[in-house]
Amino acid sequence: MNAWQTFWTGIDPGHGAAFVAGVIAAIVVPLMPGGSRYPADRWAMTLLGVAGAVHIALPLNHPGPPLLAAGFVVSGLVYGILAYFVYVGRAWRVATLVVVPLTLIAYLVVVIGGREEADQIGVATALVEITAGGLAQRGIRGLRVLGNIGTALIVVVFGAVVWIATFVAHEAGEASPSGPSVSSGHTHERLARTQAGVIMRPWPGAAHPTVEQERAAGALAASTSSAVQRFVKIEDALKAGYHWPLGKHTGPDVHLENEAYKKDGRVLDPERPEMLVYAVGSGRAVLLGVVYVMERAGEPGPAPGGPITRWHAHNLCVSLMPPGVGIVTPYGGCPALSLTGTIPEMMHVWVVKNPAGPFAEGIDRPWALAYLRDHGRPASA
């Protein structure tokens, strides 16, 4: 995926019109002649105008019930009126401080309820609205300090709720046997559009696998399971060139990497998986699965099992002070003095009976620890 494709992946196709309307408003509104000469007011007018344009344009190609569409239009009109009030110098601050939290709460209710997938348009519009709210409270006597703290808290809480709700919905989709397929929500591809820590390519094909794809996925799981039996003892994996991750030698999902296999030009080779995953603790270890990793970042991995065998990548923050690695926030940011990058695509294949399936992106920690307790072999780690 190139950068342009990645950018569009974050935007729900149903929000395309809203994106265009928001960009046009961001260009046109600040150029309007007249109005307040104070920069803060002009910024507020622009931000409210952008929020209004996005909300009004949302129903244009957004599937949903008429009530939701009506809600978008009404909230868009309110934001438009507030932008107009800023323009003509009428009172707008208190109303903005009421409307912004109400809009954010409504959005969170829809996202948490699973009726809407958080995407870049949703989060960016929320940022625009929060900023407008922050500017609104600046002009109200006695509210400055409290308002600043409130604005910061809203940023944190909103981002955290969106991120957690997205992950929960994604995990539920993976674990649900009634879902269209493992890791494929198709129209509601949770995680694909928030792009916060996990990058998933949208699956362009059918949501349900064909018989051939199911067979191929089963064959891949079986051949992987068979091939890595030689690494059941963690010492054998270490002898074969796998090495411990930095600083982490125990836990329910310890990933051992093989640098030679990561650059051998082989893709999805059960004989040479780039990573092995073990549960390790209390002097015992048990092999749980493997991770296949593409050699180059941005290259899509092959999916013989169609929607069953999905690959994902991680966009990470690499901090220089102090050295460390984290994940990108829902606002697309990293801590200061850190750089961001997306590592090559990867796919897990579990060789134990992971309750979420053999191709799930993760494994339940308590389940892995219980499996270690029951099946772990003595290890010298």
């Binding site: 995926m1 950068a3 990645t6 950018f7 974050g10 935007i11 994106f19 920069p39 910024w43 870049q120 348009i121 989060v123 960016a124 940022l127 910061a152 940023v155 944190v156 981002g159 955290a160 792009q195 916060a196 820590g197 990058i199 050699e295 180059r296 970042a297 941005g298 990548a313 966009n315 923050c317 901090s319 002070m321 102090p322 460390g324 984290g326 994940i327 990108v328 926030t329 829902p330 606002y331 697309g332 940011g333 990293c334 801590p335 200061a336 003095l337 850190s338 750089l339 961001t340 990058g341 997306t342 590592i343 090559p344």
Partner: protein
């Protein structure tokens, strides 16, 4: 800041740098109308942010990494520091004109 700390695995070591940045930004923003040095400090911080974004984009050219541009990332990593930089430059110009008129 707190959000970024959470996303760095909750490691308290990462509280220090964002805390310093937040306090310095608040202090510089409060002083920028009175002291040119504060204005320049604020501008320098935005330049560092923009440089970080540019370096991250450049790192995406390496085979092991790709760059993921997102709408929110562009807003917080480019638009916001660029807007603050422009506002600071306007403030600086206004100050220069005021001093020249005296």
């Amino acid at each position: 800041m707190i959000g970024e700390l959470l996303f760095m695995g909750g490691n308290p070591v990462y509280i220090l740098e964002p805390l310093v940045r937040t306090v310095v930004t608040a202090v510089l923003a409060g002083l920028m109308h009175r002291r040119t040095g504060a204005l320049f400090g604020l501008m320098a911080m935005q330049v560092v942010s923009l440089a970080g974004f540019t370096i991250s984009a450049g790192l995406g050219l390496l085979p092991q990494l790709s760059f993921t541009p997102t709408l929110t990332g562009l807003l917080t990593g480019v638009a916001l520091p660029a807007a603050i930089l422009v506002l600071c430059l306007q403030e600086w110009n206004a100050g220069r004109r005021a001093r020249a008129a005296q």
